[in-house]
């Protein structure tokens, strides 16, 4: 199988994730979509690593997973905090930073 298949799949997943981030308002779903985007990136990294024949890309993929784990911790923490303050679970209503 050529690398193009992996890259196309990765781009496809990335677009699904990006579309989810842009269209959904529930922070939980946004978080899920972010994970999709990250994993799309991971897929591409691993595919390129295999194509070039060394392990560099795999190392990157591992680091991305760690970062994703951290990000999920913070993201979920934020959502729990919102929930505990009885704030609406809606990204559009959290717009106090409007200039």
């Amino acid at each position: 199988m050529g690398i193009a298949w992996f890259v196309v799949l990765s781009a496809f997943i990335f677009c699904i994730g990006a579309a989810g981030v842009l269209t959904r308002r529930n922070p939980l779903v946004i978080l899920l979509c972010l994970e999709l985007m990250l994993n799309a990136g991971n897929l591409a990294l691993i595919a390129f690593a295999r194509a070039s024949g060394n392990g560099d890309g795999q190392v990157f993929a591992l680091i991305v997973m760690v970062v994703a784990a951290c990000e999920v911790v913070i993201g979920l923490g934020l959502i729990v905090a919102m929930y505990r303050r009885k704030l609406p679970i809606d990204a559009d209503q959290m717009s106090e930073l409007r200039g």
Binding site: A18, V21, S95, L97, G99
Partner: protein, 669 residues
């Protein structure tokens, strides 16, 4: 000790006095600040005598010593030392300035005795004496300008001494502004001298000017600028308007600064720069014409003015006109002799006027409100009359010899100067008239209530009031003190007046034509290289001119006697008949009105235009508004991006990343 080291002592004593009083006034009880000031100036006078004596011991051609403390400015082209020049002219001025200053200090000790600003007054007064001595002792134009500006500042501080009086502060501002015109002219003149003659030292410049051809354009311009400086300081047309207003200051200030010393600085400057003026006779002639114009103008105004101190101020302007005529007619010793005698009798007149004004409770200075003070104030009457007689050049008094010497020289020079001399004679008649107008109006006639009260032994006491506007005042700091002092009641006012009265009587004996040549011989080394030193009127001519002057003085006094004593109605009927002339003189030839129209109002209009139009439209509107508008528009754009929607940010981010990726794709392809 050499004359130069005496000169430094002369200079440093009043400086020590002013610093001592200014810093230590809290520790100086009662009147000790005044005595401290008087003592330093008195010692300064004694050091001046030391300077005189040591200078007299030197041979004639060596009586010109420069003492330098250190290099003040040292560059390629400008070399200026902090140096003083001890020569007969500076010694003469030192003696006159410090002597008269000492007497006026002693007078002020009681005159301002109850003033809340007592120590401040003496700190200023000592500062003035220091500045004036610096002015006359300076050995180069830079130090001269320093002293020149210092005396201007001292004059401003002392005119506005009663600083809570609006009239006094505005008079101070007026004096300062007009003096600055002169300062600027002097600075430009010094620049031209440096440029033309290559040095700012007096002696070097006077040496170099001999190479310059007669009436060379730049030299004439330099001399005219020097004249502007001199005229601003000495109250000559057209820069005289500040001097009558300067009478807002305390009377000793009028006596010291605005009669005896500072205002004669212009005469000193012309005499000091005589080598320049002799090379530029056109400028000297212009100076002489303006001096004569001024002396006539001021005499006519003094004829009709009613404010006692302002009459004396106009008479000062007029007498300085005589001095200017003298020194610009190259009759230096005559002009300076008149400077000396004028310092005596004019300081005396002001002291007498101060005493009379005090007797009226310092609330009025108009001679319409005075009269009959002869019985109540015998001492003031006698001394004031002596001063007035000397001013009128009553025969054998000091003013008689000095004023007529000036006129004799002017007549002797011929040409335009003889016309000026004749005009000066006419003004001498007016001088005698207005001098005795003051005496007769103030001391003769029906006694006013204050005079009657004073004759019974009680000093009139009226509420504190501004003599000019009649406004109510209090006696706190910034206003005159609660008590007023007249010469009869206080020896420290009496003593200086007595000394000055004696000097006003006998001051003339040092230069009687054909008999004594005190002033001329003493000043000779300074003017030795003058082209005109030997060109003097014969004693017989001088005596003839003296006789004419004496007759004119007696005529003037007789006319005043006729008008004010014998037929008191005459003054009023003359005034009715000559109404246009009277009002022309009473409005001081409309100089103030002219300046108001020509300078004050346009400046005020310009200021208003600047405030309402330039400031509001250009500065506030275009510059400030424009800058804030740009910033505001920029921030509005930045703010509109900050929607607060997470998804919008994500879109922007994504769009940005996509754009970057596209760019690099296209660029690499």
């Amino acid at each position: 000790m050499t004359p130069v080291s005496w000169g430094w002592v002369v200079l440093l004593l009043p400086l020590a006095g002013t610093i001592g009083i200014a810093l230590g006034w809290r520790a100086l009880p009662g009147r000790s600040a005044g005595w401290l000031g008087s003592v330093t100036v008195g010692l300064s006078f004694l050091a001046g005598i030391g300077m005189y004596l040591t200078l007299e011991e030197l041979p004639h051609e060596e009586r010109r010593l420069v003492g330098s403390a250190f290099r003040y400015i040292g560059t390629d082209t400008v070399d200026v030392d902090l140096a003083i020049l001890a020569d007969p002219l500076s010694t003469f001025m030192v003696l006159v300035v410090s002597g008269v200053s000492f007497l006026i200090h002693v007078y002020s000790v009681s005159y301002l005795g109850s003033d809340r600003g007592y120590a401040r007054f003496f700190a200023y007064l000592n500062f003035f004496v220091f500045s004036m001595l610096l002015l006359v002792l300076a050995a180069n134009f830079v130090l001269l300008i320093v002293g020149w500006a210092f005396v201007g500042a001292a004059s401003y501080l002392l005119i506005s001494f009663w600083y809570r009086r609006d009239t006094a502060t505005s008079a101070g501002i007026k004096a300062f502004v007009i003096n600055v015109i002169g300062d600027v002219a002097l600075v430009v003149a010094a620049f031209l001298i440096l440029n033309e003659l290559g040095t700012l030292d007096y002696l070097g410049a006077f040496e170099a000017v001999r190479e310059v051809p007669h009436d060379e354009g730049v030299l004439v311009a330099t001399c005219l600028l020097l004249l502007v400086g001199a005229f601003a300081k000495s109250g000559q047309i057209p820069l005289h308007t500040w001097l009558p207003d300067a009478m807002e200051g305390p009377t000793p200030v009028s006596a010291l600064i605005h009669a005896a010393t500072m205002v004669t600085a212009g005469v000193y400057l012309i005499a000091r720069c005589h080598p320049l003026f002799e090379r530029a006779p056109t400028a000297a002639a212009i100076g002489a014409v303006i001096g004569t114009l001024t002396l006539v103008f001021a005499a006519t105004v003094a004829l009709v003015a009613t404010d006692l101190k302002r009459i004396i101020a106009y008479s000062t302007i007029s007498q300085i006109g005589y001095m200017v005529l003298g020194v610009t007619a190259f009759a230096y010793s005559a002009g300076l002799f008149h400077l000396m005698t004028h310092a005596f009798f004019k300081a005396l007149l002001f002291m007498g006027a101060g005493s009379v004004v005090s007797a009226l409770g310092m609330t009025n200075e108009s001679i319409d409100r005075m009269g009959g003070f002869r019985k109540a104030m015998p001492f003031t009457f006698v001394t004031f009359t002596i001063g007035a007689a000397a001013l009128a050049s009553f025969p054998l008094l000091s003013g008689f010899f000095s004023k007529d010497e000036v006129i004799a020289y002017a007549l002797h020079r011929g040409g335009i100067y003889s016309v000026l001399g004749i005009v000066a004679y006419a003004a001498a008649l007016l001088t005698a008239f207005y001098a005795f107008r003051m005496v007769f109006r103030v001391f003769f006639g029906e006694p006013v209530p204050e005079a009657q009260q004073l004759a019974e032994g009680e000093l009139a006491h009226v509420g504190p009031r501004n003599p000019l506007t009649g406004e109510e005042e209090d006696t706190d700091v910034g206003f005159p003190g609660p008590e007023h002092h007249i010469a009869e009641h206080s020896w420290s006012m009496k003593a200086p007046m007595a000394v000055l009265a004696v000097l006003a009587v006998v001051g003339g004996v040092v230069a009687i034509p054909g008999l004594t040549h005190g002033v001329e011989t003493f000043l000779e080394p300074t003017f030795a290289e003058s082209e005109f030193i030997a060109d003097k009127p014969a004693p017989a001519d001088q005596l003839k001119d003296l006789a004419i002057g004496g007759v004119l003085a007696l005529l003037g006094i007789a006319a005043a006697y006729l008008v004010y004593i014998r037929r008191p109605g005459l003054a009023r009927s003359a005034r009715e008949r000559l109404r246009p002339v009277h009002s022309f003189f009473a409005h001081k030839w409309y100089f103030d009105e002219l300046y108001d129209r020509a300078f004050v109002r346009p400046s005020r209009g310009l200021g208003r235009f600047g405030r309402t139009t330039v400031e509001r439209v250009l500065v506030q509107g275009a510059i400030v508004g424009g800058a804030t508008g740009v910033v505001r528009a920029g921030t509005a754009l930045a703010r509109s991006i900050q929607t607060g929607y997470l998804r919008a940010y994500a879109l922007l981010l994504l769009a940005g990343v996509c754009a970057l990726a596209l760019y690099f794709l296209i660029a690499s392809g």
